[in-house]
Amino acid sequence: MAFIPHTEGDVADMLAAIGAASIGELFDEIPPGLRVDELPGVPEAISEMAITRLMQARAAQDQGALCFIGAGAYEHHIPAAVWEITTRGEYYSAYTPYQAEASQGTLQLIYEYQSMMASLTGLDVSNASLYDGASALAEAALMAVRANRRSKARRILLPRTVPPVYARVAEAIAGTQGIEFCRVDYDTASGTTPVAALAPWENEDVTAVVIPQPTFLGSLEAVDALTDWAHARGALVIAVVNPLSLALLKPPGQWGAAGADIACGEGQPLGVPLSSGGPYFGFMTTRASHVRQMPGRIVGRTVDLDGKPGFTLTLQAREQHIRRSKATSNICTNQGLMVTAATIYMSLLGAEGLARVAASSHANTRRLVDALSALPGVERALSGPCFHESVLRFDRPVGPVLEALATRDVFGGYDLTTDFPELGHALLVCATETKTAEDIAHYAGALADVLKQQKVA
């Protein structure tokens, strides 16, 4: 029996202790008509050796391309130590640290994580994680409604430069709770949100303004001016940021005169593998004054009966297992293992290492853009600086170009045509620190071939 240790003798002894004749008898309270014998669609068991063969073959099938896609999930080098330590059984197979005395390892690690995220974002307090970046924005919107008591409107201004899927997720999760997301237009020349685009809400009740940095298009918003606009009108500011970029970019806590109120985003760039889109983790930090409105687990440092320092889950009165229908969120389990990886990653890289990764990603993307935009029929679509992603405009539809590149084992980028039709035949490209000069030259060479072979539509 797979993973079940019982011998026949054990079963006989245990049934005798229970006073049952068979294991089947233990199910005698289930109405007989409901019981099943067959599970359609479930094959017979295979051994670890056989599943290894199968999974090796399937993994190999998907492997081997050079990837220049970003769009919210980024390929970075992950030090070997990160997942060696993270998958130790003591982290991997523990649960939420309800019994603090038996969970000091996980609790201290989360406290260290919270400290790192607070410093990275320039805010006071962090929670222990949310599911991912997109759902973190939904939770931030709900939190802003709770925290901004002056606003009655439940209205969140959401620039189009926020990742489009974040907007969809926020709508799916928070839209049913009476929150109105108003889309704010952007300037197609720079790919950023001008303050003037907020004018329609100049005299309206606005609960919060979301500001992405960098934008989904890789561009950099005028975060100071946007933050000040929001605060001048009593709105809170929700920063959606790439945590890696904060090694270089101004942290949300220092935006404008007063700083953003909530920062959130996708934690994946901090040591979490691409892994088909998850598991990743969402992060959230805020000002100390808003901590009681924050969703999710929070770890605090305290002392034990002997006065010795220790760590425990705190402010649990916000949470579903205490407050039930009045909780700040229904979140229970979060993404603990991913936080473990991120904490080890940040410890190994330090501020200097993170800055080098961010700077290399920035420089490589610039090189990639230079190489690709030198080809006939390809040009830079946006003016202004970018962090580590950029938009290229083609003289023909992007879809067939990407397909042709894929047959050459190059993933050329993310096709923006559906979400940003006004940008024309636009492609979002990314080259992180993992890309060498040869990789970039290889992409440029492959693209030159493809463009020559394909006719302009």
Binding site: H6, D13, A65, I85, L305, S347
Partner: protein, 488 residues
């Protein structure tokens, strides 16, 4: 022995050089975009980081190191193959937006996982995207809401929830804009049918049920409940927290449920990870299929592809940035393939055998079962109200004392309606020897409560810390280290 904070190992200028690009490249960005001061992150060597986090790991109880009978959490063994195989380069490095041409291996696993989950639950279709049980619940209630709205029955805004339910149930219902109507539980742990008949009406959107319930017994009147709720125009939601108890024996789809979520990190043995990642896949009956969260994997001939807004225009939408916790889903797939049809049945059987054995032995030793007239499912509740009254030793004291014996504590004070309770779930992967060791410890504690109650009230004694001051933690909030803050 305390382990210092990682920041206390830090020295200015120290750097794990091998882990970063060799040079810091020029950055061409406007000065007003840049940060003035670097963030405060540790400056440590690779060895210091490895040693620190290895040492911290040793301050945890886990399934790999300790019996972990945490009720309602299904802390079963997480087979190592699931992790090793899911972390192969082809899976680990696959970008979520990789083209379908380079995704067939991964998508085949996801499609087959959907099919297997349909088979074990008796549902019509499965969406894998919810990222935890609570998000699966959210998806479920949003689908129920969408169903009523599509039928122009927008007034249906009441969700029935038994008083024993997990806290996420009422919290989720409220997140979906619903009103919660609580249902009482009868003396034997079943839903009070008379109260249910009173509670249903024209505003009923549905009911959220866990079966076996959170009090550890099978809801015997489930068919009657389904009839009453369906008769009133409502739908039935199955909270899969306790699916392990009935795996391969009885299926939620056959009981009449319209929508379910499964906790893959419980029933299908993906890691709990110190509090996630979970995975809360949802299964639906025919009525709710059009509303499933996207994306789901479809098959056309021998090709697989993600189905999205275009395929499911009535979907409640997207709940994650990409497609849920894919790496967790791979682990569940590998686990299910290794168990197969026969292994699935054995999960339910041996989880139930272990729980009933533990319940019978503890009862014989003098512990009071909360529902003595009932079969245990995969878990059961004992109430320590007598010990609390006679010796002043509470369920919390017993939980902490168990830690000194090398056992993780059961779930304490849940469900709320049983006083001084421990909810005990051994799972099928524990041996009889492990269970016997736990029984011995419980008997020892019972005897000690009479002889030396103060010892138990002070427990634990052998762990890195003794009981922690939770009140101070909340009042003198210290949730982030800062340079210059004093460390004891």
């Amino acid at each position: 022995m305390t382990e210092p904070l990682i920041f206390e190992h830090s020295r200015a200028g120290r750097f794990a050089r091998a882990q970063a690009p060799v040079v810091r490249e020029e950055v061409e960005l406007p000065a007003d975009c840049l940060r003035a001061e670097p963030p405060v992150l540790p400056e440590v060597s690779e060895l210091q980081a490895v040693r620190h986090y290895t040492r911290l790991s040793q301050r945890n109880f886990s399934i790999d190191t300790h019996f972990y009978p945490l009720g309602s959490c299904t802390m079963k063994y997480n087979p190592r193959a699931c992790n090793t195989l899911a972390l192969q380069p082809g899976f680990r490095g696959r970008h979520p937006y990789a083209p379908a041409s380079h995704s067939q291996g991964f998508l085949a696993c996801m499609f087959e996982l959907q099919e297997m989950l349909k088979g074990v639950t008796g549902m019509q279709a499965v969406s894998l995207t919810p990222m935890a049980g609570a998000q699966g619940e959210l998806a479920g209630v949003l689908m129920i809401r969408a169903y009523h709205h599509a039928r122009n029955e927008t007034h249906r805004n009441e969700i029935l929830v038994p008083d024993a339910a997990h806290g996420t149930n009422p919290a989720t219902a409220v997140m979906c804009g619903m009103k919660v109507v609580e249902l009482p539980t009868d003396a034997d742990g079943d839903v009070d049918i008379a109260a249910l008949e009173q509670a249903v009406g024209p505003n009923t959107a549905g009911i959220m049920l866990t079966n076996p319930s959170t009090v550890g017994v099978f809801e015997r009147k489930i068919e009657q409940i389904a009839k009453i709720v369906h008769g009133a125009g409502g739908l039935l939601y199955y909270d899969g927290a306790n699916l392990n108890a009935i795996l391969g024996k009885v299926r939620p789809g056959d009981m009449g449920f319209d929508v379910i979520h499964m906790n893959l990190h419980k029933t299908f043995s993906t890691p709990h990870g110190g509090g996630g990642p979970g995975s809360g896949a949802v299964g639906v009956g025919a009525r709710l299929q059009p509303f499933m969260p996207i994306p789901v994997v479809g098959r056309e001939g021998d090709r697989y592809r993600w189905q999205d807004e275009k395929d499911l225009p009535q979907s409640i939408g997207r709940l994650s940035g990409f497609m849920g916790n894919a790496g967790v889903l791979l682990r569940a797939y590998i686990y299910m393939r290794m168990l197969g049809q026969e292994g699935m049945r054995q999960v339910g059987e041996f989880a139930t055998l272990n729980a009933n054995y533990l319940a019978a032995r503890l009862k014989a030793a003098g512990f009071e079962l909360a529902y003595p007239r009932r079969r245990a499912s995969h878990e059961f509740i004992i109430t320590l109200k007598r010990m609390a009254k006679d010796q002043g030793v509470t369920a919390m004291d017993v939980a902490k004392a168990l830690l000194d014996y090398g056992f993780h504590a059961p779930t304490t004070y849940f469900p709320l309606l049983v006083p001084e309770c421990l909810l005990i779930e051994p799972t099928e992967t524990e041996s009889k020897e492990a269970l016997d060791g736990f029984i011995d410890a419980m008997c020892d504690i019972m005897e000690r409560a009479v002889r030396d109650a103060e010892h138990l009230k002070g427990a634990p004694w052998t762990l890195p810390v003794r009981r922690l001051d939770d009140v101070r933690a909340a009042r003198q909030l210290d949730v982030a280290w800062r340079p210059g803050s004093v460390d004891a």
